[in-house]
Subunit: 178 residues, 2 copies
DNA sequence: TTTACTGCAAATTATTTGCACGGTT
DNA sequence: AACCGTGCAAATAATTTGCAGTAAA
């Protein structure tokens, strides 16, 4: 029963970066950082809002029902929500996400599902991409060194100063594939 | 078997497929097919609507410098637009695009620009991906055999029956890169 | 105290849908 | 004539913004 799972590198870096950028530390932001850090894959704003609300309502429960439906992200218990237990407003979710994206702490993931997903950007090359099941909508991560290598080489030959790349494979997951 | 060199394979295939699917041939659809076929890269619904409206208003002029594929809108080109010259309604643009996507004649391209782009799906392996300049928003195509090979190999090892893949490189184009 | 952080609700923007009419087969 | 295709306008859904109260530093 770890009550204080060592503040991950990411959270530390995030808070440091935010502070450096002249920001204070509000409850909503902290809850969001905590949640994103626990995730294994990208979440949509809606999922984030729901998860935070759930945490607020019942903080002893592992508020990870969201992952079941959309992403297979299993998080440990959640504790970081705002002490009051009210959840975070949608506006704040978007605002914070936008802010974090600007600081390169979070990145958008376009899965062709009518809404954008967001996930933390890890410094330690845990760089990964996504598989999207067009049937059930599940989103899962994958990574492949060969692919990264190909992208890197390619980036040199292209008429652009490449800073990011996103790869999404669409198809049918095992459960959906006949 | 056609006698009009202007009608590309794609348009023929598209119309055949649409007919097979039990559709008639309205003016809006034809204009849209024609436009998409002329493009070299993905267009947004807005761009499509504007282009078609422009064509409708002044059919002797090539469709406003869109993706640079303004070629041949003259004699052979504009012939497809609705004779009246009124353009195509937004609703139709979306409806037709959706229809074409379902028939795999067109594919969506997510460039992280708040709207989806669409482009024709060519049968002849002209398979390509996209470069997006985050500064000016320009979108250009690129293709790389090595990358495709890597994707193909990878698709076998992943827990999903992959049917499509999308790769987007973000960065600064030559004009925007300082 | 100062100024950022938040929530709430109204405002936007891209995309979709209902309905009636005109066009294609 | 039978029905699909299309335009128009209203309806949605996701995301953004204005404003006022709350809370870090």
């Amino acid at each position: 029963m770890s009550r204080f799972p060592a503040r991950s590198d990411w959270i530390e870096r995030a808070e440091a970066t935010l502070t450096a950028a002249g920001h204070r530390r509000g409850g909503a932001r902290r809850a969001l950082l905590q949640l994103l850090d626990e995730q294994e894959c990208a979440l949509s704003a809606q999922e984030i809002e729901d998860a935070l609300r759930a945490q607020g309502a019942d903080r002893s429960k592992s508020a990870t029902g969201l992952a079941g439906a959309a992403a297979g992200a299993g998080s440990a218990g959640a504790r970081g929500a705002n002490a009051a237990g009210k959840g975070v407003s949608r506006a704040s979710v978007y605002r914070i996400l936008d802010e974090l994206e600007g600081l390169r702490l979070v990145q958008r993931v376009e899965t062709g599902q009518a809404m954008v997903r967001y996930e933390r950007v890890s410094e330690r090359a845990e760089h990964h991409h996504h598989l999207v099941c067009d049937e059930c909508g599940v989103v899962m991560p994958f990574s492949d060194p060969g692919l990264e290598r190909a992208i890197e080489t390619l980036s040199e030959r292209v008429p652009m100063k490449v800073s990011e790349h996103e790869i999404v494979l669409h198809g049918a997951c095992r459960d959906c594939a006949v």
